[in-house]
């Protein structure tokens, strides 16, 4: 079936099997491989993207379900002038990533958390990231990055 989705501001239209998950639509049909698959039980959050601005696990959404909607992936996060988004910058500044596999999902989940609560506590971030697993960083610097990004002036304009 043919499915139209706006991905990172660009209209996409692809013929895919009805059972195609959003994550495979993004990776295989659109060719954006920044979004990773880490599990098969909606547990790890590596595949987190924004659907109309809110975080979803794209392994648990059928592409067909979101036809006509807007999806943002890690590839769509950088600012218009090419600089990294404050969350991306904070991840580098705080050493919030090691192997990088969970990172795109983490960045998208944090974008959603900060949109809901621009002045979060550490506890809010930790509970909010419960569904995003990381094996490398021990979360310490991811949480630090989220808090630093939350305090960045660009996030409050």
């Amino acid at each position: 079936m043919r499915i139209d989705i706006t991905v990172n501001g660009t209209p996409e239209s692809h013929d895919v099997e009805a059972r195609t998950l959003l994550v495979y639509y993004l990776r295989d049909a659109v060719g954006l491989t920044g979004t990773n698959v880490g599990c098969d039980t909606t547990s790890c959050g590596a595949c987190t993207v924004l659907l109309n601005g809110q975080s979803v696990k794209s392994c648990t959404v059928l592409a067909a379900q979101v036809a006509g909607d807007e999806v943002t992936t890690i590839e769509g996060m950088a600012l218009e002038d090419g600089r990294m988004h404050p969350i991306q910058q904070a991840f580098q500044e705080c050493h919030g990533l090691q192997c990088g596999y969970c990172t795109p999902g983490m960045v998208m989940a944090i974008a959603s958390l900060l949109a809901e609560n621009p002045e979060p506590t550490e506890e809010y971030i930790r509970l909010g990231l419960e569904g995003n697993l990381c094996r490398c960083t021990g979360y310490h610097n991811i949480v630090a990055a989220a808090l630093a990004a939350g305090g960045a002036p660009e996030m409050h304009q």
Binding site: G38, D40, H95, C99, G100, R126, L129, R135, C136, G138
Partner: protein
């Protein structure tokens, strides 16, 4: 000013943060077919038949192969030490020995077709008696390999000194389980292979050791190593479990060879939970003896190691446990004996620490039990027995030679950061008032071994006429940040900007040799090799500069502030790296140095971790309030990366103490085979950590550096475990096995109330 020791941000990061890494599954491989494996649903059974007729008839299915089609030898023994009869085959051969064991491979035009075909393969089993408990396996009542006549896969028969504890006033003992855990790198196993235009096999692998993969593929596929080109793109974590080659890797290479089509394979997480090796899995019996004044005189540990279904790397983990038997303590008499046995479970392998966390967990737990027995503060008991800083090099009773350390300094700093006395006062207050939330304070003093295997490492540095520096390394980073750290080392020696340095790794055509990244070896041997190559290339450059500047070789100096060579005293006339490289290139002699650095031996990082937990005595729930880590890995080259390694290690260590365990039922059915069932630790269960470094440089290598990759895991688990047991010790609980889940803690509290203080609780 030196760049070393500064907080340099990672050069790797912008790519990961803007478009994501390039992992094996991200590689474009036009015309590729997909592989999936038919896996055993039985823990132990004779395979009567594999009927793939319907699957083979499906549109888009190219082939279904079993072990008979492959005609390949079994894997070799591990370091010549393990029982040969128990070596794993590529695919199950006649008998399946664990749930998840690969039986057949399906090749199809798409991942979806391969998955559909999986449903159509019918395997008929004839069940055999399942052996899941290593204690039972050791009785040899039911055998996994009848031809072997035993379930024992490996043993270390040291010790047995009957008089070991004769002089001790106080002797305590403890049986404990260092439970089986799953490494869980976020990226599962993945491979992509194709026959290149030149007839060589190109193999993309998510591995920690690309050259090991190359050599194994060559051996099993009947090729010369130079006919195999292994490329390791970005790797989403390994933690030891991707250090070895798996049967699936070989089968994927074989399929590409056989079919002449590009082949790709990415397992599912649920497959990975059964197929990727598990870690730890020891049953331990420990005994410690000493005086009432707190002088430890003797220690003995007996290890029963679970190999899982075949004798792989996990079988020899007790070897490393034995090396670290007596930990950081000056114990006159210490022994370790071990037996490894096969059981009907996923084969075990290296997992962050690999044999050393198990040693630390055992001695640190019983140190606390001993302290309680003689009514001494556990910090004081440790202080009285730590090896002194003037005792190095120190030879332990199991003949390990520790290089250097200041163990007391790490302990003192940890106590100070924790505010230990205040914590004990708060604990006393809560105990006195019968607070429902009791405070537990746990210590762990550790020493561990890094670069413990004898391999050397390759490093090369080349300066190009455009001024760019190319660094090649035999290490294979998968999150550790070698691109940044190796750039810092070379920038320091050459006086060039790190942005002018390119670090190449993980391509066996470009990097000729390499042992890879495991065992916290990379900096102290791989980084040291790169550092040496940089030193060598500076010396070569001085020869060239002497010619060009028509000066004595001895008078040439490198100004590291600008990367220019000049005659001492006349900096105005100089030659840049680019100019020298151009001259060298014209002479047909690139400005280049390569080093095969032989291992100068292992180093021994150490430290003290302190954990503070709150235990809800009504529910058994443990809340980790604080974790203080003082680690000493010698000289710290990159504090940013070192701290990151400690953080990650702590989380994995806490996970083992509190949450994570791979569980099987008595029939060998895995109960934790998805991330929904396995208690993978999350941000919500952890606090921010308080980390400090002390720096005691090692004389073993030129950098003064020790490994830091596994210290966090090794130090943290016993600290957290001791903290939980400490929180409820006054209620009569002597010990609770890991993971200290709410039900176990709750049971222990209740059993203690009814008189059975050694209770371990249920699940």
């Amino acid at each position: 000013m030196s760049i070393l020791g500064n907080r340099v941000l990672r050069r790797e990061d912008p790519k990961f943060l803007t478009v994501g890494g390039t992992y094996v599954a991200d590689l474009a491989l036009p015309g590729s077919v997909h592989v999936t494996f038919v896996r055993s649903s039985m823990a132990h059974a004779r395979v009567v038949s594999v009927d793939s007729t319907n699957a083979q008839a499906m549109a888009g299915v190219l082939a279904v192969y079993t072990n008979d089609d492959l005609g390949m030898a079994k894997f070799p023994t591990v370091m010549g030490m393990t029982n040969e009869a128990m070596a794993p085959p590529m695919l199950a051969s006649g008998t399946v020995r664990y749930v998840g064991e690969p039986i057949a491979v399906i090749v199809a035009e798409s991942r979806e077709i391969a998955e559909d075909a999986l449903e159509q393969v019918v395997v008929e089993y004839d069940p055999l008696k399942v052996v899941i408990d290593p204690v039972k396996a050791r009785t040899d009542e039911d055998l996994l390999f009848p031809d072997a006549g035993t379930n024992t896969s490996f043993s270390l028969d040291f010790g047995g000194d009957e008089t070991l504890f004769d002089d001790c006033d106080v002797v305590v003992e403890l049986a404990l389980v260092n439970q089986r855990v799953a490494p869980c790198p976020l990226e599962v196993r993945s491979a992509a292979a194709r026959m290149a235009e030149d007839g060589r096999l190109e193999f993309n692998s998510s591995t920690q050791a690309p050259h090991g993969v190359r050599d194994a593929l060559a051996t099993f596929l009947g090729l010369e190593p130079d006919q195999v080109h292994v490329v390791t793109p970005d790797v989403g974590g390994g933690f030891g479990a991707k250090a070895m080659v798996y049967p699936e890797d070989i089968v994927v290479g074989w399929c590409a060879q056989k079919l002449g089509r590009p082949v790709r394979w990415t397992e599912t997480r649920s497959e990975s939970m059964l197929g990727l090796g598990h870690g730890r899995a020891q049953v331990q019996h420990v005994r410690i003896g000493g005086t009432r004044e707190g002088v430890v005189q003797a220690y003995r540990i007996e290890v029963l190691q679970d190999s899982g279904a075949y004798a792989g790397f996990g079988t020899v983990l007790p070897f490393m446990t034995r090396v670290m038997t007596s930990g950081p303590y000056k114990i006159p008499k210490a022994e370790c004996a071990s037996v490894s046995v096969v059981t009907n479970s996923t084969p075990t392998t290296a997992y962050r620490g690999a044999g050393r966390p198990e040693a630390t967990a055992a001695i640190e737990r019983i140190m606390d039990v001993f302290a309680r027995e003689i009514d001494m503060d556990p910090a004081e008991l440790r202080r009285r027995n730590l090896i002194g800083k003037d005792d190095f090099p120190y030879t332990t009773p199991t003949e390990t030679v520790y290089d250097v350390g200041d163990y007391h300094r790490a302990l003192d700093l940890a106590l100070e950061v924790a505010g230990y006395d205040d914590l004990r006062a708060e604990q006393a207050r809560r105990r006195a008032t019968g607070d429902l939330r009791q405070l537990g304070i746990g210590l762990s003093c550790y020493v561990e071994i890094t670069n413990g295997l004898p391999d050397g490492e390759f490093g090369a540095v080349e300066v190009r006429p455009d001024g760019k520096v190319i660094v090649r390394t035999g290490t294979s980073p998968h999150g550790q940040g070698h691109v940044t750290a190796w750039s810092m080392l070379v920038a320091e020696q050459l006086g060039v900007a790190i942005d002018d340095i390119e670090v190449v790794h993980g391509d066996t055509d470009i990097v000729p040799r390499g042992a890879g990244t495991m065992g916290s070896r990379s900096l102290q041997i791989g980084g040291a090799a790169v550092n040496q190559a940089a030193v060598d290339v500076v010396e070569k450059a001085k020869d060239l500069a002497a010619d060009l500047l028509e000066a004595d070789r001895e008078d040439i100096v490198l100004n590291k502030a600008n990367g220019h060579f000049h005659v001492v005293g006349t900096p105005a006339v100089s030659r840049s790296w680019a100019e020298l490289a151009e001259t060298a290139a014209k002479d047909g002699n690139p400005l280049f140095a390569e080093v095969d650095l032989a291992s100068p031996g292992p180093t021994f990082p150490f430290g003290t971790h302190i954990s503070v937990v709150e235990v809800d005595t009504e529910t058994g729930k443990v809340n980790l309030l604080r974790h203080i880590a003082v680690d000493d890995a010698g000289r710290i080259i990159s504090p940013l990366l070192a701290e990151g390694q400690v953080h990650g290690g702590i989380a994995q260590g806490v996970a083992q103490a509190l949450l994570e365990e791979v569980v099987y039922d008595l029939e060998g059915n895995p109960l934790t085979s998805t991330l929904a069932d396995y208690s993978f630790i999350s941000a919500a269960e952890l606090p921010s950590y308080e980390t400090r470094f002390t720096e005691t440089p090692t004389p073993v290598n030129a950098l003064g550096a020790k490994g830091i990759g596994e210290s966090g895991t090794i130090g943290s688990t016993p600290a957290v475990h001791n903290a939980v047991c400490d929180a409820v010790a006054h209620l009569g609980v002597r010990h609770i096995d890991m993971p200290t889940t709410p039900i176990r803690v709750w049971n222990a509290i209740n059993d203690a109330a009814t008189g059975d203080g050694s209770a371990k609780g249920g699940r």
